[in-house]
């Protein structure tokens, strides 16, 4: 079992009367990529800043692995910890050049002097900023600054990465590069904690998701386990001919009645809204079912036999991409209900 690199114990942070984080606890193991998700203002950035020791908690502790492979309370002693790279959500820099800035950071971080130039050139080439090596940063676009921020976080090749929305403002190409770089870091045994609103990206790289809502950790597990617990599996049923608008509601009610044994178990089935929905523009039904393989077959069977006069199925599949989004929405909705 790999060792623990970060351990949070009942971490809380208040800004005046506002509780930004409320007794958050979890551990991160070496080599894991943890995705931090949550709505705006949930406490993600606050959590990352607490780990980076840029702010102090009101209560609780942050333990980070030190160079003697022991967990150390960073509030009591922040010396001798493993190297960390940090990317803030909207980085700003001095009016200097990327080469100058990266060299300064590498020097400050004690990166071997004879390797600095090579490392800088390698990173600049990887993220397509090599031609901008000696250009002033005030001429850079938002995306370029974001890429540079990422490079500043990784320049000294740390063991632990804390990244606050690393892909914000980046084009598709750059996002792919960062995603691949994160995966390569994981292969090297690095540990990464990153926050993002891009659920599709998180799905591709993260081992586990930590879901935060209103300062509370409401889920921390692999996506598959969370989906199993919340049973937020979806099926897409594309149909040949559009359903007339006056028949949609009746059809949905009939579908809910017939498919009830196979729909999401944790949700009140008397409130049919949301479990089966019809998209008029793209002409498909979305069915939130219980996730079982047998249920999936049964649903297809029922649709093919008992609804043959109502709809003609042209395609029937389980979309990968929307699952994390629906899981996210489902968990936030349920948590908000509990808090009310």
């Amino acid at each position: 079992m790999s060792e623990t690199v970060i351990k949070l114990e009942n971490l809380s942070k208040k800004y005046g009367n506002f509780m930004a984080l409320d007794t958050v606890s979890f551990s991160v193991r070496k080599g894991e990529i943890i995705g931090l998700v949550g709505p705006n203002g949930a406490g993600k950035t606050t959590l990352l800043k607490l780990i980076a020791r840029l702010i102090r908690p009101n209560s609780g502790s942050v333990f980070i692995k030190n160079n003697d492979c022991k967990l150390q309370n960073i509030q009591k002693n922040s010396k001798n910890l493993i190297e960390m790279g940090f990317l803030i959500d909207i980085p700003h820099f001095y009016n200097t050049t990327p080469y100058c800035l990266l060299r300064h950071i590498a020097n400050i971080r004690n990166y071997p002097r004879n390797k600095i130039k090579l490392r800088i050139d390698h990173l600049l080439k990887t993220f397509d900023l090599y031609e901008w090596k000696y250009k002033k940063l005030k001429t850079f676009s938002k995306g370029m600054i974001q890429k540079l921020g990422f490079m500043v976080a990784i320049i000294h090749d740390p063991e632990l990465f804390i990244l606050d929305e690393p892909q914000t403002g980046l084009d598709t190409n750059a996002r792919i590069k960062i995603r691949e770089y994160l995966k390569s870091l994981q292969n090297e045994g690095k540990t990464i904690l990153l926050s993002s609103h891009l659920l599709t990206e998180l799905r591709e790289v993260c081992d586990k998701i930590a879901l935060i809502n209103q300062g509370v950790l409401i889920g921390f597990d692999t996506i598959d386990n969370l989906e199993r617990d919340f049973k937020t599996k979806e099926l897409i049923c594309e149909i040949g001919n559009p359903i007339p608008i006056e028949r949609v509601n009746d059809l949905i009610i009939k579908l809910n009645r017939q498919l009830e044994p196979f729909l999401e178990a944790k949700v009140d089935h008397s409130n049919f809204e949301g479990l089966i929905t019809y998209n008029r523009q793209k002409n498909f039904f979305t069915i939130c079912y219980d996730g079982k393989q047998t249920s999936r077959s049964e649903i297809l069977n029922i649709l093919s036999t008992e609804f043959v006069s109502d709809l003609t199925i042209s395609s029937f599949y389980e979309p990968k991409i929307s699952q994390l989004e629906s899981l996210y929405n489902q968990m936030i909705k349920e948590n908000n209900k509990k808090l009310k």
């Binding site: 800043k49 840029l54 702010i55 910890l81 803030i88 001095y94 950071i105 020097n107 400050i108």
Partner: protein
Amino acid sequence: MEKLANICVNLKQVSHSILFEVKLQKKKFIIFSIITIILFFLNSIVSYVIFSFMTLPYSQIDLYQSLILSFMTILFLTTGFFFSGIICTEYKKKTGLTLLPLIEKHNLIIGKYIANYILVIGITAIQYFLIALLTFYFYAEPIPPSLFLSFGYLALYILALASVTTFLSSFMPSASSVLIIIIALILFGFSIIDVFVKPTRIEPLYSLPYLYNIISKIIYPEFSTMERYYEYTQDNITHRIWSFPSAEGALIVLTLYAIVFFLLGYLLFKRRQL
């Protein structure tokens, strides 16, 4: 051995911070150097040589004194501009200090402080060099050793002023607010305090504008015997007007200013959160 390694790492971080900060402030240094030269030119060459509407002082010492006094405003502005953003800009813009978590941040601040101090001293040295050059041109006399003493006090004065500015920067939100406050303090703040202290006839050693006077007065060879104050009677009340501090008094107070305000600034900076 581990302690030695830590000290080396800390020194390395300080030295890298100094080099980086000097590079960042290069443009500011050039601009202020040019301003210093232009103002010097206007105050001296234009006044005494080109238009000759001012009469050359009797001795070179008097010329030194008047030119050093005229440098006061630019000195305050220069120190203010260089040191006002030393801490608060890092927090406002979320730059270097915030990109480097779990690092000994005081190394970075010390490096920035030293770098900016070197640059301000550099600008001051340009001014002193021009003063010495011009005085030699007019009087053809050797440079008095007291000019170096004056420069030494000026260096200490800049340290004190820089520490006060750094202290303000440690809790103020932006560099411009620090600059406004430091200028207001120098122009009005101490004068307001003087109004209350004057009737007590106590020497205003707390006052930075008053302490500046030692820099121009210490040039005089007879400095140690010069009257540091004069008195006059008005409405049966004897008023004492202080001209300049003693060498020892200025040394002690300026050193205290430099140490106390730097330490206060450092403590506030340590507590400051992003």
